[in-house]
């Protein structure tokens, strides 16, 4: 069976005044129907640019190459008029900040109905009924009254529910969620994640979940893509990567998770800061911050993405030069920190 979405060698560059910035440097992944893929990484790792590249929402200064197949059709290079029929219809997106993502001068009902009527041949009252259903589906009480309200009359969590309702209104095959819970407070975060989990089965949409929170990945995703400096550091099934992480950057991410640090005094952090995409380090992008760095790591083009040796038939890849013995030992140590969950 072909995957719902397949990205091959996706590469996105930006022209800036200082030169060309490579935000995504050739990444490949796929998402099956009804599945959730997590894309994790720090700020600047290229995870948001990945989602915007798929949606075709990047500014004019961006150049995207490679291919992204959705239902067999390559989205890259598709004219905007064609892409518009797919956006909001076959694939939809929700964004990080629900406080600013809705237009302040139109009612929530207006914005929902707009989303529906762009893609579906419905009259006003049909679209209104559909909007009501959607608000009810995302757990907003009194949807009939709430449709007449403006965004400022909703709380952050409620606005994110509206965004989700708007995204799912046309039954998209793919939902891209770009850090949907980052701007929300902790209790609301849990509610939104719960909602997304329920809606996934109800609408049978595949989800690409972009986050910097491995906790979200553990809760919601089957597959995960760990990005660093515009490249894939490690990718594979979530259980597998939590059990046997194989890239030093993944180790760093796992060690810095608060839930895994119980019983210790301090959280472990990764020293240094993310690389400049304008002047990236030679070789492995992570080498300046890596504890296990060797001379081989500083040589271009850097380690290739390869299969983990004992993956047991699972597709678990990583990009690192570290020798197998050290890697397995360190993986065991990092995975061993995990509290019984």
């Amino acid at each position: 069976m072909t995957p719902l979405l397949e990205a091959r060698d996706l590469r996105t560059t930006f022209r800036t005044d200082d030169g060309v910035v490579t935000a995504i440097d050739g990444i490949s992944f796929s998402v099956e129907r009804g599945q959730t893929l997590g894309i994790v990484g720090e700020s600047g790792s290229g995870k948001s640019v990945t989602s915007l590249s798929i949606m075709g929402l990047l500014p004019q200064s961006a150049t995207v190459s490679g291919s992204v197949f959705l239902g067999g059709r390559d989205l890259i290079g598709l004219p905007d008029a064609e892409l518009r029929k797919i956006r909001g219809n076959e694939m939809a997106m929700i964004f990080q900040d629900p406080m600013t993502s809705l237009n302040p001068v139109y009612t929530v009902g207006w914005q929902l109905e707009e989303a529906i009527r762009i893609h579906q041949d419905m009259n006003g009252s049909q679209a209104r009924r559909r909007s009501q259903e959607m608000l009810a589906a995302v757990g907003i009480p009194n949807p009939d009254d709430r449709l007449k309200n403006y965004p400022h009359e909703f709380s952050g969590g409620m606005r994110q529910r509206v965004m989700i309702a708007m995204a799912l209104a046309n039954n998209p095959k793919l939902l891209i969620a770009d850090e949907p819970t980052t701007a929300l407070d902790v209790t609301t975060q849990a509610q939104i994640l719960e909602l997304m989990r329920n809606l996934r089965s109800e609408f049978d949409s595949a989800i690409i979940m972009i986050t910097h929170d491995l906790g979200v990945v553990a809760e919601l995703c089957e597959e995960v893509l760990v990005m660093y400096g515009g490249r894939v550091a490690e990718q594979g099934p979530v259980d597998r990567i939590f059990a046997q992480p194989s890239h030093p950057y993944t180790w760093g991410l796992l060690s810095s998770m608060p839930s895994r640090a119980q019983g210790r005094d301090r959280l472990t952090s990764i020293p240094g800061s993310p690389p400049s995409l304008l002047y990236p380090p030679a070789g492995c992008r992570f080498n300046p911050r890596c504890t296990f760095v060797s001379d081989a790591c500083r040589v271009d083009p850097g380690p290739a993405l390869r299969q983990v040796e004992d993956a047991g038939g699972l597709d678990h890849r990583f990009a690192c030069h570290l020798d197998a013995a050290t890697r397995v030992a360190e993986a065991a140590r990092v995975a061993g920190q995990e509290p019984a969950s």
Partner: protein, 355 residues
């Protein structure tokens, strides 16, 4: 909403009263006259009969303290001139007695009612304001949105140059330039010697009242003055709309709209421009209100018999009732424009709650 409107209106009346008092205080000393010579004498001139001087003194209350003068002034404004006052101030041979005394008093210059003079000159000013507000809004929305969409393009840079030009140079410069190039030159002997014909492309100033059956002469006379006046506003508004659009187009909600599959045209016009509309409505309302008090420079340059030019004439004649009448009228227009803007804003921006 209605309660808010009423309260806003009452505040407007209070503001107007303060303005009334202020103009009275400012112009009051003129009425006191110079060194023992009664102001009534000065107003009336040398050939004035003692009866006339007496009438003026009684009418303005010059024989009473200033607060009584102010009282008379306000009373006349609210209730209108009494029959007694009209009989006193209007010459015996003047049949249309309402033409010589109004609520705002009588002009020192030609014994005419200030109300009537304002009523005669205001249509010119109103026409000028309406035509130019339409011109500058159309021009600045088109130029502002286009240059925001094509930021950094030749069009954008040209627009910004014109904007700078329009803002930097005064109205009388552009007015005279336009008059000379578009009205005088095409209809001159010089032009005929060059091209063998002459044409009256635009009139050299002046005003033609609006005839609904044939509005063209009215419009034809207004094109140059309204265009000149509009240019200055269009420059500012284009800049505002351009930067507003640039901000709006970078907002998250615009990205959301695009992610929904909304067409670029609709994204720009319905989602971005709608948010830019709010500050522009405020500015337009206030600028329009200000223009209703008379566009002094434009009216003077183009010889339009409007309120602004009337004000200049009145000031030159030390015509206190006329000057303070126009000031009061202009002030009322601005106060009214403020109220309208506030009410309009509340309906346009759902985030504003009235109370």
């Amino acid at each position: 909403m209605i309660r808010y409107a009423i309260r806003r209106f009452l505040w407007g009346l209070l503001t107007l009263f303060v303005l009334l008092l202020a103009t009275f205080v400012i112009f009051g000393p003129v009425l006191q006259g110079q060194k023992g010579v009664s102001a009534a004498n000065t107003i009336c001139g040398d050939k004035c009969s003692p009866e006339r001087v007496h009438d003026i003194t009684i009418f303005l209350g010059l024989d009473r303290p200033w607060y009584a003068q102010f009282g008379t002034y306000v009373e006349r404004l609210v209730l209108g001139p009494s029959a007694d006052e009209m009989a006193r101030m209007c010459p015996q041979n003047n049949k249309a007695t309402t033409d010589c005394v109004g609520r705002l008093g009588q002009s020192f210059k030609d014994q005419r009612s200030v109300d009537v003079v304002i009523g005669e000159t205001f249509p010119t000013t109103l026409s000028l304001a309406i035509v130019s507000v339409i011109v500058w809004l159309v021009v600045s929305f088109a130029a502002g949105i286009l240059s925001a969409l094509r930021r950094g393009s030749l069009f954008d840079r040209m627009t910004m140059v014109v904007v700078l030009w329009g803002q930097a140079l005064p109205i009388y410069y552009f007015g005279l330039l336009a008059l000379w190039l578009l009205a005088f030159l095409p209809n001159s002997a010089q032009f005929e010697s060059w091209f063998g014909f002459r044409v009256e492309l635009f009139p050299i100033g002046n005003y033609e009242p609006l005839e609904l059956s044939n509005p063209w002469p009215w419009f034809w006379h207004l094109i140059l003055p309204a265009g000149t006046l509009a240019l200055q506003f269009a420059a500012l508004y284009t800049r505002m709309i351009r930067s507003g659009m640039l901000t709006a187009l970078g907002e998250d909600y615009v990205r959301t709209a695009r992610a929904k599959g909304v067409s670029p045209r609709r994204v720009v016009l319905r989602h971005a421009a709608r948010n830019v509309l709010l500050p522009i409505v405020t500015m337009t309302g206030l600028d329009f209100g200000t223009l209703l008090g008379g566009a002094v420079l434009t009216e003077t340059t183009f010889g339009l018999p409007g309120l602004g030019r009337q004000a200049i004439i009145a000031v030159g004649n030390l015509d206190v009732p006329m000057t303070s009448g126009i000031v009061l009228f202009a002030g009322a227009a601005i106060i009214l424009a403020n109220i309208v803007v506030d009410l309009l804003y509340a309906t346009l921006d759902p985030r504003i709650r009235l109370g």
